[in-house]
């Protein structure tokens, strides 16, 4: 089972690294969206610092959602997905492998670049560390939940817009507690409660989302 997972992750990485532009697109989207806020709201640094956690989290949410389209789409078009479904390995495991790769290529870069954007919005050191930690725990949840939606909307007309309509409401709890953790640190309060909840989301979705996404794929390819 582990060897299958290793093979799948290796395959996904190879495929992704041959199209580096796609990884960069998500990252650039994140940077551009965040940079738009100072232009729209004005360069008042105190205001920006106040809204920074929310802005960064919403931008991460959108970036992660936009990249979901590609999670299964290519494999769906060239028939690989059907082969994965009829293989003797559990589909949930294979889906899990795909999600892990997808997160490390789209979610992890967001986490790594977030300190620069945080500084751009005038956040202080402590808040930036907390921001990175919340994104580190939170973005995998986004990829995991998103995989279910990506599976359901596979090959559906207007899939992209539909995906955002069904997935964004499910993202809301992660957004609330992710941005909430940073805000409460900025306000001088602890963020343990927020982190506990984010961790709970992560564990819950790690267990349930691959199974759900596998079921979604089976429905879509029935």
């Amino acid at each position: 089972m582990i060897s299958v997972l290793r093979w799948l992750v290796w395959r996904e990485f190879t495929l992704a690294l041959r199209r580096k532009a796609e990884i960069l697109t998500t990252l650039l989207f994140f940077v551009i969206v965040v940079s738009l806020f100072p232009l729209g709201i004005g360069p008042e640094i105190n205001t920006l610092r106040e809204i920074a956690p929310g802005v960064l989290w919403v931008a991460a949410l959108l970036a992660s959602m936009l990249s979901l389209n590609r999670l299964f789409a290519d494999d769906f078009i060239d028939g690989t997905l059907e082969q994965l479904i009829i293989s003797s390995q559990p589909l949930a495991l294979l889906v899990f492998g795909k999600i892990v790769t997808h997160w490390s290529l789209t979610g992890l870069p967001l986490v790594l670049i977030s300190p620069i954007l945080g500084m751009q919005l005038g956040m202080d050191g402590d808040s930036i560390v907390v921001l990175m930690l919340t994104l580190l725990v939170g973005t995998p949840v986004l990829s995991l939940i998103g995989a279910v939606g990506a599976g359901l909307t596979l090959g559906v007309r207007g899939g992209g817009v539909l995906l955002s309509l069904i997935i964004l409401p499910l993202y809301v709890p992660v957004l609330i507690f992710g941005a909430g953790a940073v805000e409460s640190v900025q306000a001088g309060l602890g963020a343990e409660a927020h982190f506990s909840l984010l961790g709970a989301f992560l564990i819950g979705s790690l267990i349930l989302a691959p199974v759900g996404a596998a079921a979604a794929l089976r429905i879509s390819l029935d």
């Binding site: 939606g149 909307t153 559906v156 539909l162 309509l165 069904i166 709890p173 429905i219 879509s220």
Partner: protein
């Protein structure tokens, strides 16, 4: 066949039997709705005394509270039908899930709308980003997502199963709404009707609310039965029994 026998209920799950049954049930439920709603309004507006804190504005709760209850209940009922449809592959359950969704969305919207109207005189604002309001808003989006996903997929079976899975993922929101006023101490007042039995309301108001809840239930049955009837006709338009029934009715 007697209404109480088990065979009757099992037979109802076939569209052919359900169609005439629903046709008879719709007017009955419509009359029940009108009857209960009228009594409820009489209790709520005329018999119930004016509240010493909120004045007359609190009377809106005879619509607000039942609508909020219904929004959560209908989501659960919708999920239950969707799961039954997924497990036993009964077409009628899928149709029921699809038929309940618009009514559920309507009640969610109604709860938010009446809440806003009630919030203005008591809190001084139509809307706050309070835990309960936000989670109710998410519930509205979940209903919309369910309806949109169903509408976007052409293949009926796939649409039913995909939306069933989506409904099950979203179900986690229902307990969050229900307990939000307990978990987070925000602006929305705690539950007015508690299971502990200590009612903080005049009895007339409580009666009005319960009557309105039953009226809403009857309304839901009437409307969703009508929708299911239309769906059955659409799907089975080429079958012999539809031609027979419609030919007979004309």
């Amino acid at each position: 066949m007697s209404v109480l026998s088990k065979a009757f209920w099992l037979k109802l799950s076939s569209p052919k039997t359900f169609f005439p049954f629903a046709g008879k049930a719709v007017p009955v439920f419509a009359i029940i709705t009108l009857f209960l709603a009228t009594i409820s309004l009489y209790y709520g507006f005329i018999l119930a005394p004016t509240d010493y804190q909120m004045g007359d504005s609190y009377r809106i709760m005879i619509v607000h509270v039942p609508a909020a209850w219904m929004s959560m209940w209908l989501y659960l009922v919708m999920c239950a039908y969707a799961i039954i449809g997924m497990v036993w592959r009964t077409r009628l359950s899928d149709m029921m899930a699809g038929a309940i969704a618009p009514t559920g969305a309507m009640f969610t919207f109604l709860a938010l709308w009446t809440g806003a109207l009630w919030g203005k005189p008591t809190w001084g604002t139509y809307w706050v980003w309070d835990a309960r309001l936000t989670s109710e808003l998410i519930l509205l989006f979940l209903f919309f997502g369910f309806i949109a996903l169903r509408a976007a997929i052409d293949d009926e079976k796939r649409a039913a199963r995909a939306s069933a899975l989506l409904a099950c993922v979203g179900i986690i929101n229902v307990p969050i709404i229900y307990f939000s006023v307990k978990w987070w101490n925000t602006l929305h007042q705690p539950m007015t009707v508690d299971t502990s039995g200590k009612a903080t309301l005049p009895t007339e108001m409580l009666t009005a609310m319960l009557l309105m809840t039953f009226a809403f239930w009857a309304y839901t049955f009437a409307v969703s039965f009508m929708r299911v009837r239309n769906q059955i006709l659409e799907k089975e338009k080429n079958s012999a029994w539809v031609a027979e029934t419609l030919g007979g009715e004309k």
